[in-house]
């Protein structure tokens, strides 16, 4: 039911652009919180205003924590609390939109708890008329946090790579970005050569990625919201790959093999300088920073097996993080820095797991055979990753306790290599 509604929503509101991903919500948990959303009251002409409550509803439902419904028939003037309680509604959401000027409108958002009958949130926001989707995502985050006490990840963006065949049957790679609900997709680059490892910069202004357009692996930086601005990192002998942004948004960790083995270097975008971070004959790659910038996690086969290591960037001390299994790779820090999402080989399968850095406890979160590229949502409670369904690459989102929430698939091809941005500004 939710799936068909979502599909309808996508058909109605998508601009039929090439890259629209299909969103499939995995069945909600039985203890999903019912939330009643009243249609937003609109004063003046607000373009797309009727979309807002639909986007919010879909956002809340997609996480699996809520069972949200828009109820046009509910009387907001004389609230029937006992009816809400009998139907087990956890929250009532109401809002007004008022056009203030040509481009600005005011939103008043109210959340009421049917059990205490109290208003638990009553806030006013001024927003720009052209940002209806962003407004809806922003409000979704407020509602989510107000009810659950933890941040949502709605006002964020995704970046990913799609692979399809063009009209001549030739493979076509696209680097695309979208809202967190896969809507509003934009193609950043199209190429007949492979693109991989896209990563959003912390401020969402840039995306670093690897491209084979020159028939070798090279790192590029795109400014997706500035026309035609693409930077190519300097030429390096050998491999240049695995970019990852330092929290300062200026330095990029990259893997280079120019000095004889695969090591991790730090490239300063401003100074255009290079600093070598690891120096080891083994393969060192897949670097990623903690959000406080103090630690760097990376993959290395220095022990003879592919394992995860953490470097303290101040002392430069390296310690091994994974001790379970003989293949652990592509680790990323959780926003709070206490865990790592990584790829773990279990028997013959490659699964996404979450490692408690302190206790070394490893929990396997996924069940497929070729799961990879995990990335935390900025709220820290969800992980997006690549997997296969019916032999096609799709993206999937799983909660950190292992509950599958939703999937994103490409109608006419495959999708892979997700990157989840920070909160939009």
């Amino acid at each position: 039911m939710i799936l068909s509604r979502l599909t309808l929503l996508i058909l109605l509101f998508s601009n039929f652009s090439w890259g629209v991903l299909e969103v499939s919500v995995i069945k909600n948990e039985d203890n999903a919180l019912p939330v009643k959303i009243l249609p937003f009251q609109i004063i003046g002409s607000v373009q797309g205003g009727d979309l807002i409550e639909k986007i919010i509803t879909n956002n809340l439902n997609r996480t699996g924590h809520f069972s949200a419904k828009v109820d046009p028939s509910f009387d907001k003037n004389v609230i029937n609390f006992s009816q809400l309680r009998s139907e087990k509604f956890e929250a009532l959401v109401m809002a007004n939109l008022e056009k203030k000027s040509e481009k600005i409108f005011d939103i008043q958002l109210k959340l009421i708890d049917p059990y205490s009958e109290k208003t638990i949130m009553n806030k006013k926001y001024a927003v720009h008329d052209s940002g209806i989707r962003r407004t809806a995502h922003f409000l979704s985050d407020q509602i989510y946090e107000s009810i659950l006490g933890i941040r949502g990840s709605f006002d964020t963006r995704l970046a990913y790579v799609t692979v399809s065949k063009n009209s001549h049957g030739k493979k076509e790679y696209r680097l695309e970005i979208s809202d967190s609900d896969a809507q509003n997709p934009k193609t950043i680059i199209t190429s007949s050569d492979p693109i991989l490892s896209p990563v959003w910069s912390p401020d969402q202004n840039k995306i670093a990625y690897v491209s084979f357009r020159n028939l070798r692996s090279e790192v590029f930086v795109q400014y997706p919201f500035v026309r035609r601005k693409t930077l190519k990192l300097p030429y390096f002998d050998g491999i240049a790959s695995s970019p990852s942004w330092h929290p300062d948004g200026n330095k990029l960790a990259i893997t280079l093999s120019k000095d004889g083995n695969k090591d991790i270097y730090l490239y300063d975008m401003e100074k255009k300088s290079l600093e070598r971070i690891t120096k080891n004959p083994s393969i060192d790659t897949e670097a990623s920073f903690s959000s406080d910038g103090k630690k760097m996690v990376f993959t290395s086969n220095r022990s003879g097996q592919v394992q995860i290591y953490i470097m303290d960037l101040e002392s430069k001390k390296i310690s091994r993080a994974t001790y379970e299994g003989n293949y652990n790779a592509k680790a990323v820090f959780s926003p709070d820095g206490k865990s790592l999402a990584l790829v773990h080989r279990l028997g013959k399968d490659y699964r996404v797991g979450i490692l408690d850095i302190q206790t070394r406890d490893l929990t396997i979160l996924t069940e497929n055979e070729l799961d990879e590229s995990p990335f935390f949502a900025p709220s820290g409670d969800m992980i997006i990753y690549s997997t296969n369904k019916k032999n096609r690459g799709i993206l999937s989102v799983v909660s950190i306790i292992g509950r599958q929430t939703f999937e994103l698939s490409s109608v006419n091809g495959e999708v892979r290599e997700p990157s989840w941005s920070n909160y939009s500004q």
Binding site: P194, L196, S197, F212, L215, R216, S217, G238, I239, S241, S242, T255, S257, K262, I283, T285, E286, T299, V306, Y327, A329, K330, V343, R345, Y350, E369, L370, E372, S373, N388, N391, E417
Partner: protein
């Protein structure tokens, strides 16, 4: 690399023009019979191995290093041109997660070393690949290690400067099957002459 080849060619040409057309070694002797199939793995992968064509091409020509090398219509120059246009000339296969070169593989690489020694105009591009299992970035590194392992053998013959290494990781598979049969075909280094 091209300049070096041209220089050597000119040198040889000058040498032979001076009247000395010496007894060139019969190239066919350096190469094993053309029907031999060599595998870098212990298991039977015969159907996946690209047969080396070296014997067949050189068998038609006996003297590669003489004045005919500068003549674009000489059989030798034609042979070189053909090699350069062949795309993937030969493929070496690797074990899961590994980049070791077996003795059989070494022998196969040596054939190519000989080929390059005999045809100074040839340069070699080694393209390293991995199967889809595991992470993309690690596989990019693995592909490079495989190609570099081959280059290390060629280095023993002083061919480093004429050998280029590129890794495509898991990005350019030969087989799209998600099983052992398919993965085997993708763990490879392709030899391309240019």
């Amino acid at each position: 690399m091209r300049k070096q080849g041209l220089f050597l060619t000119t040198l040889f040409t000058a040498f032979f023009l001076s009247g000395c057309i010496g007894g060139e070694a019969n190239i066919v002797e350096k190469v094993e019979p053309r029907n031999q199939i060599v595998s870098n793995e212990t298991s039977n992968t015969s159907e996946a191995i690209v047969q080396s064509q070296i014997g067949r091409i050189i068998g038609e020509e006996i003297s590669p290093t003489d004045i005919r090398v500068t003549n674009p219509n000489s059989p030798e120059a034609i042979a070189v041109k053909k090699l350069k246009n062949e795309g993937v000339k030969f493929t070496l296969y690797f074990s899961f997660d590994g980049y070791e070169i077996s003795e059989a593989a070494t022998n196969e690489i040596i054939k190519h070393a000989n080929l390059m020694k005999d045809y100074p105009q040839l340069n070699l591009r080694l393209e390293g690949h991995a199967d889809e299992r595991g992470t993309r970035e690690y596989n990019l590194a693995l592909g490079e290690n495989r190609a570099l392992a081959v280059k290390d053998v060629l280095a023993l013959y002083g061919l480093t400067s004429r050998t280029q290494v590129i890794s495509y990781g898991e990005e350019k598979p030969i087989s799209n099957e998600h099983n052992e049969e398919g993965w085997k075909k993708n763990r490879r280094v392709d030899f391309i002459y240019e």
